[in-house]
Subunit: 313 residues, 3 copies
């Protein structure tokens, strides 16, 4: 068993630098967390420890997941989601807010609309910062739970064909996932509206990491030999007009007809929330993995929190 | 002692189907919860369990009560009260929100402005849903705490004379209570402004259940032999004009003169918040039961949560 | 060791009536809390106890601190920070809100924009109320953590020279601190813009308590023999024009040049948030005590909560 000692006291700002051994150790811990939750709900590993859940923009899913993760580990949470009304509006800097909260808490989870915010916070704080999304920047815990889900759904990570569908320009989720997938070979296929294609510099970077990539105009071209179909929202505000949005949304919608063409052993993922990209009728298909993906988020974050606070399971 | 096993894993959407035996068992458990709280503050019955407290509209009293109930049982709470700003505003459906939260939590408490929301949530979720009010629909935990309070204040539930005063049209509280009272015989008297009378279909339904009912223009007619005076708010927005509101409000106000005409052994209840329906001078009278009613809410909800999660006291 | 028994079940509304013996006992307990947190994160002293954290105006720092303090003591918290949207907007009085919350909780922490609110709450409630700031009124836990910080930074409280800098008119923080300092002799020096001088009646009152006071136009006059430099925000809205504000702010800014003139053994404090009164470059100087001051807030509040709930450390 590989140790998680390397995470003790560490900031989790992005996924750069993670290797397969690190990820194996983390995923093994996430599996142990799942057993703990299934068997007895939670543990006392982090009893007496406090997490500050600092959300500068709302994200029910992510903030709820961290609350559940921390409290199932026996710790407690300071929820700070009304930052718009509070110290911040008195002009306090992110640095001061973080230095204040680390006086009360043992770890800070930060969600912020601006890229680089997590790094600023980490530089200011002595205690560990976990980046829960900084605008177009990174969202490492999402990338980790995505990868863990693929591993649990398909039993392996090597040599998979992964199709990324939807808004590939703004989706930090798919960017981080693609970088992690580069560690495991395989092929990544991009299917997106013209306006929101995978950015060229990132494609070049991933090529440098040895990731096989191809771009496709239609899901039809690739659906049949896809192992993982990763769907993202195409946000209305990215389009010039309501018309263009409706057209794009229609072209990238996954329904039962799509699923019927997928392999028996494959899976459909989505970071949620969805707004119509996946028909609800698909939910009952066993390949629909997105709600298991949500649940995996808790096990991965439990593993991370416990390791960062020096009490890994 | 009747078992609470029937509640294990069950949704609590309304009060239909509850019988006297069920209620006896629940109330006995609520009494044990009261002893636990008085003796030592709380228990570890729900250690490691998580409640998602999902409020689509604000309700300090109800949400606070569930937080206190869950944490006194040793569990923890994911508070989600800013839903207006969060996933929902990204267009996520109630179904998806509930299926997401059940990945993190063991039980979901839902408050929603639309009737039927709790049923939709329960159909989507595998984990238990507790309806904490769905618009003009039901609010079963309020009905249960109301009935429990009557039982504790007067020592019995059979054959009582209960006067319902105020807005009887929109008040789901009094509707649910009337249905439960039908299990215990006795008489129910309605005193309300013309604009907000008890709805005819409900009166007919209650007649079918064998409840003795009568309608009165004035509290004076019935106050002297009332065992339970249940007062509700008459909301300003129900009236055509400010004038009509002021007139109605004045006619249905309970003050010391009202109380002086009540039986020695009787009680005054109110679901709170009040806005003048009961004079604060009444608070010191021993028949003023509304703050004990609030407290009983915690014992009843503790009993329900523990039973639904399979660890009844 | 002096007992903290006098705090059991008591409201903490202000600092009047506290004597040196009381403060010694409280500070000794705060030191024990610090050891507990450093050694093992928290305790179970308040297991099963519930705090209602009732904030009628936002204050991330203070509310977060009470959450951390209560949960590190093993208790739990009902967070109520969205009061603007809730019962209050249905017209409920502070009295009723408090009487409701004490049905669920063992202690209520109240932040309110209006002076006297804490007293109203305490009169209504049977359970203890801790005033976390009532407008221009008192903020006793801030005053206590300030005094504790001076004691810990300098090793003593007697005979110190304390310079209060900034807005001395509206700052309840400096008012409360000055009153406590009167118990320990020494000298207090006021440096403020003309528009926000220390109020004359308060100066007179403090003179009556035997406090040596002097007023100065410039920090330069007093910085060299200051033991404690206590800086507060000068709020923009207190000034007639943007110009006057900029001028005042510039004159009362602490930077490395200021610090260079201070004694080796001295300290700089600030209740935070700051908006430029102290240059960030000062943060690394060992005399910059304001983040240790934040942390001390947790130990002092832990000591207070435990004592008020009858389980002092």
């Amino acid at each position: 068993m590989t140790s998680l000692e390397w995470l003790r006291g560490r900031d989790v700002l992005g996924t750069a630098g993670l290797d397969r051994e690190n990820l194996d150790a983390l995923f093994a811990s996430a599996r142990r967390m799942r057993s703990i939750v299934k068997d007895r709900g939670g543990t006392d590993l982090l009893r007496g420890r406090v997490l500050a859940n600092l959300f500068y923009e709302p994200s029910t899913r992510t903030s709820s997941c961290f609350v559940a993760s921390m409290t199932r580990l026996g710790g407690s949470v300071i929820p700070i989601s009304e930052v718009r009304y509070s110290s911040v509006s008195k002009g306090e800097s992110l640095r001061d807010t973080v230095r204040t909260l680390e006086a009360y808490a043992d770890v800070i989870v930060l969600r912020h609309p601006e890229e680089g915010a997590a790094k600023i916070a980490a530089d200011a704080a002595k205690k560990p910062i976990i980046n829960a999304g900084d605008g177009p920047g990174e969202h490492p815990t999402q990338a980790l739970l995505d990868l863990f889900t693929i591993r649990e759904e398909l039993g392996r990570l090597d040599g998979l064909t992964v199709t990324l569908l939807g808004d590939l320009k703004h989706g930090r989720t798919v960017h981080s996932l693609a970088k992690l997938l580069a560690l495991y070979g395989g092929r990544v296929r991009y299917v997106s509206p013209e306006a929101v294609r995978m950015p060229d510099p990132l494609v070049a970077e991933l090529r440098g990491r040895g990731l096989a990539q191809s771009e496709h105009r239609s899901l039809d071209e690739v659906v049949a030999d896809t192992d993982v179909l990763y769907v993202t929202r195409v946000q209305k505000e990215r389009f010039a007009s309501e018309d263009e949005y409706a057209k794009a949304q229609g072209s990238y919608r996954v329904d039962l007809a799509t699923v019927a063409r997928m392999k028996e052993k494959s899976c459909i993922m989505h970071p949620l929330p969805r707004v119509g990209e996946i028909d609800e009728a698909v939910d009952d298909d066993r390949r629909a993995a997105y709600f298991r993906q949500v649940e995996n988020g808790m096990y991965v974050r439990m593993a991370l929190l416990a390791a960062v606070l020096g009490s890994p399971a």
